[in-house]
């Protein structure tokens, strides 16, 4: 009995080496792990592919508080695909270049406008790349953006980017998702067009201040009115028609779009004070009720109604106006709603001009069609530019912060103005 058991154990032991998958073994210190990829138009090859490779020792050193070594290695090769770029990289990168940890794919806006996303097929097909990586369209060449991506609060540039993506929940100035899986799904179904993150670098040497002369806060990537910090800004969204970029929305427009998409969470937003138009009232906006989109009519010219319901809490009233009064409260609510509507209508008009339903009104239209054939025959993308879209926004001022009446300093501030 014991001999029999020992024999079986021996046989099982012989099988163990086969279970280890030794053919695919990669020791951690033998791999060069790509954290982000940049894709630009190439000069000698179809694409200039920039890879940001992690330097684990430098990353660990930085987290420990010491070391001046850059945490990543950046290098660019010209190749027809990401996988074939590995061969060129292996000419001078000693470790095996692996894309398993690539978290961000930067694409130059020029390339995305002219050629679309021709590498998307590889991202979905090549097992080393993950569909959870997010796409960022960059105003400047992707290589330049990656080179200038030197965050100060994070040691890992990709971790920094990942943290930025979470701001869609607390500021609403970037799209809800830009992951490859979501972009690919929308590209294929056709009832909505994809949106991706949008990034731009700033000219640190410029002497003229950035931003427009308008007193309104500028929310455009690369134009944020600021000094200091990382010279790369990721705000707003790149809108696609099919696989090509057709336009760019700024942060404020992106927030309005999120409200229409029912994907808005919260944000602190400054609106013009209705009683003192030269000043601003800052409120904490949050979703009151899910956005209601009603398809009122289909046919030659579809008619859609969008109703956005928000709740607000007063955060700052520098003018000193007492919005606790029911009449002034109503006035402020209407002023906020009207300013939001203005942005929403502008977003809709722009996307209709681009023939790109990035809001996703088609999502609501498709439910009225019984079969795929009927839906495809209707040809929603060609109907969207002509669609009659009515929007309405209702804002309820629910809370007034930690104080109900204006402070003395506010009243003085208002009086001085």
């Amino acid at each position: 009995m014991i001999r029999r058991l020992a024999g079986r154990a021996f046989l099982l032991g012989l099988l163990l080496p086969l279970m280890a998958g030794c053919w695919n073994r990669v020791e951690i210190e033998q791999g060069a792990y790509v954290l982000a990829v940049g894709i630009d138009e190439g000069k000698s090859g179809p694409y200039a592919i920039t890879v940001m490779i992690a330097k684990p020792s430098a990353l660990a050193g930085k987290e420990g508080g010491g070391g001046n070594e850059p945490p990543v290695l950046l290098t660019t090769v010209e190749a027809p695909s990401l996988a074939s770029a590995r061969d060129l990289l292996h000419g001078y990168v000693s470790r095996e270049v692996l894309f398993y940890h690539a978290q961000a794919i930067f694409v130059h806006e020029k390339l995305a406008r002219e050629q679309g996303l021709p590498f998307l097929d590889e991202v979905l097909r090549f097992r080393q790349l993950r569909e959870t990586a997010f796409i960022v369209v960059s105003r400047e060449p992707a290589e330049e953006v990656l080179r200038r991506l030197k965050p100060e609060l994070e040691s890992n540039p990709v971790q920094y980017l990942e943290q930025l993506t979470y701001h869609h929940r607390d500021s609403g100035v970037i799209p809800a998702t830009s992951q490859v899986s979501a972009v690919a799904a929308l590209l294929n179904v056709g009832y909505a067009q994809p949106l991706t993150y949008y990034a731009a670098t700033i000219d640190e040497e410029a002497e003229t201040p950035r931003g427009s002369e308008s007193p309104d806060v500028e929310f455009t990537a690369g134009e944020l009115p600021r000094r200091g910090g990382t010279p790369v800004e990721m705000i707003g969204a790149a809108a696609f028609h099919g696989s090509r970029v057709v336009g760019v929305l700024d942060g404020e427009e992106t927030r309005a779009l999120l409200m229409l998409q029912n994907r808005f969470y919260t944000a602190h937003v400054a609106f013009r004070d209705p009683r003192h138009p030269e000043q601003y009232v800052t409120v904490h906006l949050s979703q009151g009720r899910p956005t209601r989109i009603t398809v009122e009519r289909l046919g030659e010219r579809p008619a859609i109604r969008a109703e956005v319901t928000l709740e607000a809490e007063l955060v700052a009233v520098p003018s000193g106006t007492d919005y606790f009064e029911p009449a002034s409260q109503l006035e402020l609510e209407q002023a906020i709603a009207s300013q939001l509507l203005e942005t929403m209508n502008s977003v809709i008009a722009r996307t209709q001009e681009w023939e790109a339903d990035v809001v996703g009104f088609g999502r609501h239209a498709i439910r009225h069609f019984p079969t795929v054939q009927a839906w495809e025959a209707y040809d929603w993308p060609s109907r969207y530019p002509e669609a009659e879209i009515q929007t309405s926004a209702r804002v309820s001022l629910r809370r007034f912060g930690l104080t109900l009446t204006p402070t003395q300093a506010s009243e003085e501030g208002g009086a001085q103005k």
Binding site: L15, R127, T132, A182, R363, I366, T371, V372
Partner: protein, 366 residues
């Protein structure tokens, strides 16, 4: 005549069938459903369940008429010494083809997704070895292995589906009737042979405790598979959309790669691969056992075990014949699945013959 007599109850039997059928969800089969139904793939899944249950009724009836008997014995009793073994042989050949395709299919899936450098022959040999060992231990060992492993396999799949839920976009499940009710029904009918593996239970009918156990195992197994298939395609289409989902031959792998809960939980495919191995082991073991026992019955051998090793070697060698992954898919879709109907016709024919000739328990014929 069988070499091993076991006592499989209803619970073990239904779990065994569910494991055999459910393991198909790791492979390209959900893609078939999406291809047939588009956004209404879940309706196709429900229809194949209904049709599968209907097609399983003759098996249930035979199990009740011939408690404690396997397919080979039932064929012999009802169809006589000439036609009986021939019908069993038809089933054995089909089961052999399914085993071969399953072996190669899992191998290709491993090579494409996680082990690109590993020679397919190594995976085939390892898979065959595992199946050979379990099948040699007999029907009860196969059923108990499935019973022990199923909670692990099910937990892995359910967790992936649950973690994928936040990504589901319900709009992707519209238009509600997919490509049209007619195409959905036809698709459901065509792929109803996905549950033809229920014949495995009849092949090992001698190992069931009684007719009721076989009945409950067949019906519950198919029902569980239908529910799992419907949930899988709902999540798959709800995330990838019809155009991508109908092109994705590794649906659960795709979904597990998408699980991304910040830095806390991601790259869950490493987990799903483990369940794949377990599911593949159960499926191939059960199929190999059913093939061997049917073949032994067809050629009137008293024991299936002498056949196991040569059969396994032949099937492993045959599984390496298709030149590429596409050939495996084509072989499965165009030949193995449609021929499943012919296999499902065998119990129906046997049942009719049993009724006409008055064979079985109902007629008090031992």
């Amino acid at each position: 005549m069988q070499g091993y007599k076991g006592h499989i109850g209803a619970r073990e039997g239904s779990v065994l069938l569910f494991a055999v059928l459910g393991s198909m969800l790791f492979l390209q089969y959900p893609q078939y459903l999406v291809d047939a139904g588009g956004p209404a793939a879940w309706q196709v899944a429900l229809l194949i369940t209904v049709f599968g249950l209907v097609f399983a009724l003759p098996i249930v009836a035979l199990g009740r008429r011939f408690p404690g008997h396997g397919l080979a014995e039932i064929s012999l009793k009802t169809a006589g010494p000439l036609l009986g073994p021939l019908l069993t042989l038809v089933v054995a050949v089909w089961l052999a083809a399914v085993t071969m395709v399953a072996l190669r299919n899992f191998t290709e899936t491993f090579v494409i997704t996680i082990l690109p450098e590993t020679p397919p022959s190594v995976l085939v040999v390892v898979g065959t070895g595992m199946a050979l060992f379990t099948a040699y231990q007999g029907a009860e060992a196969v059923a108990r292995t499935a019973y022990v492993l199923l909670p692990l396999i099910a937990a892995g799949v359910v967790l992936v589906l649950i973690f994928s839920l936040p990504r589901v976009d319900a709009t992707l499940l519209f238009p509600i009737w997919g490509y049209g009710i007619d195409r959905t029904v036809l698709g459901g009918l065509y792929y109803a042979s996905m549950s033809a593996e229920v014949i495995v239970l009849l092949a090992m009918g001698h190992a069931f405790r009684d007719g009721r156990s076989l009945q409950h195992s067949s019906l519950r197994g198919i029902l569980l598979f239908g529910v799992a298939a419907a949930l899988t395609v709902v999540v798959l289409v709800g995330i990838a959309g019809t155009p991508l989902a109908r092109q994705d031959p590794f649906p659960l792998y795709y979904l597990s790669r998408l699980v991304y809960l910040g830095r806390f939980l991601q790259r869950t495919e490493a987990l799903i691969v483990m369940f794949w191995i377990l599911a593949a082991a159960v499926r191939v073991s059960a199929l190999l056992y059913a093939t061997a026992i049917s073949l032994a019955g067809a050629i009137r051998l008293p024991d299936y075990r002498p056949l196991l090793f040569p059969l396994a070697m032949i099937l492993a060698s045959l599984s390496l014949l298709p030149k590429d992954y596409l050939s495996v898919l084509t072989l499965d879709r165009n030949w193995v699945r449609p021929l499943g109907f012919a296999v499902l016709a065998v119990p129906l024919l046997l049942w009719i013959l049993a009724l006409i000739r008055g064979k079985g328990a109902a007629s008090h014929d031992p």
